[in-house]
């Protein structure tokens, strides 16, 4: 029985395939390359901070490296990683569909992503921008560095995420299998649905504001030029209107993966299906109300600061209810501790630990001290690396048999997961203390008193980097020497495991009819 990896294996058949599984794998490869590139830049930053003075690069280079690290990680890896790679692959199978609603649009979305990345990387090769991934005006409008290609590149990438978002929403609405009621839709599909809503509604505002900065920089139109009456805080309003929901674009798919992995490895019905699905939409909507907490000290009015501070607290409770439900699902389950669940534990600890510091930062007066210091850097790395990256690794291991038809070495998985956790914690926990000590972020030189913590953090970054490298090695190794995986290696009841691994070109032989919910572990299998 031929799988989607099957007969046509020419490069052309892959690059122009409209099969959602192939597009998912292509996205997986592309985003992994971008993760590695962004990771190398991060290691360079950490090496630079070994000594207070110049270590391996000049200030101008340092500013470019942290900008490109930000741009590559946010737009080239974080945002497309789980939705475009695993979402593309698994969502249609989970819904029992043969493909996404608009397959050609899906391929266009991949090519727009490639085009956007090439334009952005052209800016990198040219000499890169030194404005930070936030492009704050007026500096971004005045800098002599190559900020234009990166602005245009990210503008193009924005449309790739919008098209993927449209595809997922329409697929979820129109291509559900026979008799699949809304209550039997897997939780990962709900997470992707919520993510797609944010992608479709927030990304256009980013596209517009980056275009305005490009007009300011290139044509001198002065939307935000103080000399001609421009108000720089308005740029921040528009930028953060996108960028805060963007962090929920990054974390919601991760939460979807965690829900799936917890239910599969605990072999248990989720403590409350409705709570997880509803809180996804809670986060998606309230996420749009809270962008002002990035601007408490930016010169915003006190009234607005009050409004945004209070609203930010509501987002935290939806994440809290999800964590409560996950841990509750473990209660009286039949838990087998495999690598995906190990990564979910790392996620649980780091996400809750990091998320709580988010609540702390949102109580307004503390933010005055912490804003733009390493405390905030540590907070969002706890959520992005500790949350999304660990969930991405969990998804990678969880669906590896389904995507490649091979099993990875379980022993190596657990060892690397521990190394990832230790490396991560040693890298970013000291940055909380640096932030408390008052070290501002994006500082090339720093005071000697902060050096001890920086050295510790750099050591941690090496461990984290090597853990990632080892993961790549043993996964690649499993591609060739790994033992064959049968259809359902984890004994999961979720729909994507009902077809063979790797799945046939049209996902199922014949049209699938799902008569049971994806989480009915309280019933004997196949009933």
């Amino acid at each position: 029985m031929s799988s989607y990896l099957g007969p046509p294996t020419t490069i052309r058949s892959w690059l122009f395939s409209t099969d959602h599984k192939r597009i998912g794998v292509m996205f997986l490869v592309a985003t992994t390359v971008m993760l590695a590139l962004g990771g190398v830049l991060a290691l360079l930053l950490r090496i630079e901070h070994l000594t207070p003075g110049p270590t391996i690069m000049q200030a101008a280079t340092y500013n470019r490296v942290f900008t490109l690290h930000g741009v590559i990680m946010v737009w080239l890896f974080m945002i497309p990683s789980i939705p475009a790679a695993f979402g593309n692959f698994v969502l249609p199978i989970m819904l029992g569909a043969r493909d996404v609603a608009f397959p050609r649009l899906n391929l266009a979305s991949f090519w727009i992503y490639v085009a956007g990345s090439l334009v952005t990387l052209a800016g990198v090769v040219a000499s890169g921008a030194d404005t930070g991934w936030t492009f704050y005006v007026p500096y971004a409008a005045e800098t002599f560095t190559e900020v234009m290609p990166i602005l245009v590149g990210v503008f193009i990438l924005g449309w790739s995420t919008i098209l993927t978002g449209i595809n997922f929403i329409v697929t979820t609405h129109t291509l559900r299998a026979e008799g699949m009621r809304w209550r039997e839709v897997p939780l990962f599909v709900w997470a992707l649905y919520g993510t797609s809503v944010i992608q479709v509604l927030a990304t256009p505002v980013l596209a517009m504001v980056l275009l305005l900065v490009a007009f300011d920089h290139g044509l001198g139109w002065g939307f935000f030029d103080p000399a001609r009456g421009g108000d720089v805080v308005l740029f921040q309003h528009l930028f953060w209107f996108y960028s805060h929901p963007a962090v929920y674009i990054m974390i919601l798919p991760a939460m979807g993966v965690v829900s799936e992995v917890v239910c599969t490895f605990a072999r248990k019905v989720p403590l409350s299906y409705v709570a997880i699905a509803a809180s996804t939409f809670g986060i998606a909507f309230v996420g749009f109300l809270t962008w002002g907490h990035h601007m408490f000290v930016a010169g915003m009015s006190i009234v607005d600061a009050g409004i945004f501070g209070a609203l930010s607290m509501f987002v935290a409770i939806f994440s809290a209810i999800k964590v409560f439900t996950w841990v509750g699902t473990l209660y009286r389950g039949s838990i087998s501790f495999r690598t995906p669940l190990a990564y979910v534990f790392v996620f649980l600890f780091l996400f809750v630990f990091g998320g709580m510091t988010g609540v702390a930062v949102a109580s307004t007066s503390l933010d005055v001290h912490w804003h733009d210091t390493y405390f905030v850097v540590a907070h969002f790395h706890f959520i992005m690396v500790g949350g999304t990256l660990t969930a991405w690794l969990a998804a990678l291991h969880y669906w590896w048999p389904k995507i490649t038809g091979r099993r990875y070495a379980e022993k190596w998985g657990l060892v690397t997961c521990t190394l990832t956790f230790l490396g991560f914690f040693t890298t970013f926990f000291p940055q909380f203390l640096l932030g408390n000590g008052g070290m501002p972020r994006r500082y090339y030189l720093y005071d000697e008193t902060y050096q001890a913590l920086h050295v510790l953090s750099t050591a941690g970054s090496w461990a984290l980097g090597s853990a990632f490298a080892i993961t790549l090695v043993y996964l690649a190794w499993s591609l060739v020497y790994g033992e064959r995986a049968e259809g359902n290696p984890w004994g999961s009841r979720s729909y994507e495991w009902l077809t063979s691994s790797p799945p046939p070109p049209h996902n199922f032989d014949g049209t699938p009819v799902f008569r049971h919910s994806p989480y009915d572990y309280h019933l004997p299998p196949g009933s």
């Binding site: 006190i302 841990v327 389950g333």
Partner: protein, 334 residues
């Protein structure tokens, strides 16, 4: 206890009156959240060990959380978080409202240095000298890009925006030297924009202020007024000329052609920027606008000059006036 927490969390010394309270909220929030986080993780670990899979074919009970329990968790956490916000926002309000009797110091951030101007006319670079024990209000603007005035020891931070004024205030508790950073990325020299706040005790402060009396703001205002041609229409000795005299102008009620206004700083600066908006009765609206020609320092100096002339006494020495031009053909005042 406070010192113990402060050292564990690596917080700098509590230099300002507000720092103590902010840190108290900091300790409360961090302790509660960390206990919560470790509790959640411990529960997960315990469940994983306690309910580890022993029999491959085992089925698990379909436990569904009662809605009440969920609402309790959500409600409880929401109340806790909103409590954090309430206390935090109250402190934020205090941080954002400088006391009335604060000394005003003008701060100008420019690419990669801080400049400070005192009402008395002293100007310093990279060294903000302030009295300990008295509130200090900073009126800040930027010459080029966004900077951010950040003194970790005082737990205060305020972005400094080009084309706009933002304020911050603090009251230093103990004399000493406290580092001052720029917290908003502003280019290659962002990390070199370091400066320091030097807090002096009462006596030293008076000595410093007196000693550094290079040139008072009012004297500078006089020089700007001469250079910018203000004196060709406005006299300093109360005598009427093309425009009203500066003497006795500040603080009085001005009879305008359409109503009246108190001559405070806002009135003075508006008269410079939009002269046609507030024309004094009996004078022709011939004054040109100085919009975009005067920089912050010059306007501040002019205002100080006018403020220094509010008492109707003899003019400062060494000032000669150009001859009064024949009265311009002013149309009859309406």
């Amino acid at each position: 206890m406070n010192e113990l927490f402060r050292r564990i969390l690596w917080l700098p010394v509590q230099g300002s009156t507000v720092a103590g309270e902010v840190d108290a909220l900091h300790y409360a929030v961090i302790t509660i959240t960390m206990i919560g986080a470790t509790g959640v993780f411990a529960a997960a670990l315990y469940f994983t060990w306690r309910y580890r899979r022993t029999d491959e074919a085992a089925l698990t009970p379909p436990i569904r959380a009662p809605l009440l329990l969920e609402l309790a968790v959500v409600g409880g956490l929401l109340c806790l978080f909103l409590l954090f916000w309430r206390v935090g926002f109250q402190q934020y309000l205090r941080l954002q409202s400088p006391p009335a009797d604060a000394i005003e110091i003008y701060v100008t951030g420019k690419q990669w240095m801080w400049k400070f101007a005192y009402p008395g006319g002293q100007r310093t670079n990279a060294r903000l000298v302030v009295p300990a024990g008295r509130p200090v209000k900073l009126i800040m603007t930027s010459r080029d890009v966004i900077h951010s005035f950040y003194v970790p020891a005082f737990r205060i931070k305020q972005d400094v925006l080009p084309g706009r004024y933002t304020t911050a205030w603090f009251e230093v508790v103990r004399p000493g030297v406290y580092p001052l950073f720029c917290a908003e990325y502003c280019g290659t020299g962002h990390s070199e924009m370091e400066a320091e706040v030097v807090a002096l005790s009462g006596a030293d402060w008076e000595a410093w202020i007196a000693g550094a009396e290079e040139e008072s703001m009012a004297a500078q205002g006089l020089e700007v007024a001469a250079r910018r041609g203000c004196l060709s229409c406005h006299t300093l000795d109360g005598q009427r000329h093309v425009g009203p005299s500066f003497r006795g102008l500040y603080g009085g009620v001005r009879q305008l052609i359409d109503g009246e206004a108190i001559a405070d700083e806002a009135y003075l600066t508006r008269s410079m920027m939009e002269p046609a908006a507030q024309v004094v009765a009996g004078y022709a609206p011939v004054m040109p606008t100085y919009l975009g020609q005067l920089d912050a320092g010059e306007v501040a100096a002019l205002v100080e000059l006018i403020k220094s002339l509010r008492h109707p006494n003899p003019p400062p020495p060494g000032v000669d006036y150009p001859p009064i031009a024949p009265a311009a053909p002013t149309e009859a005042a309406p």
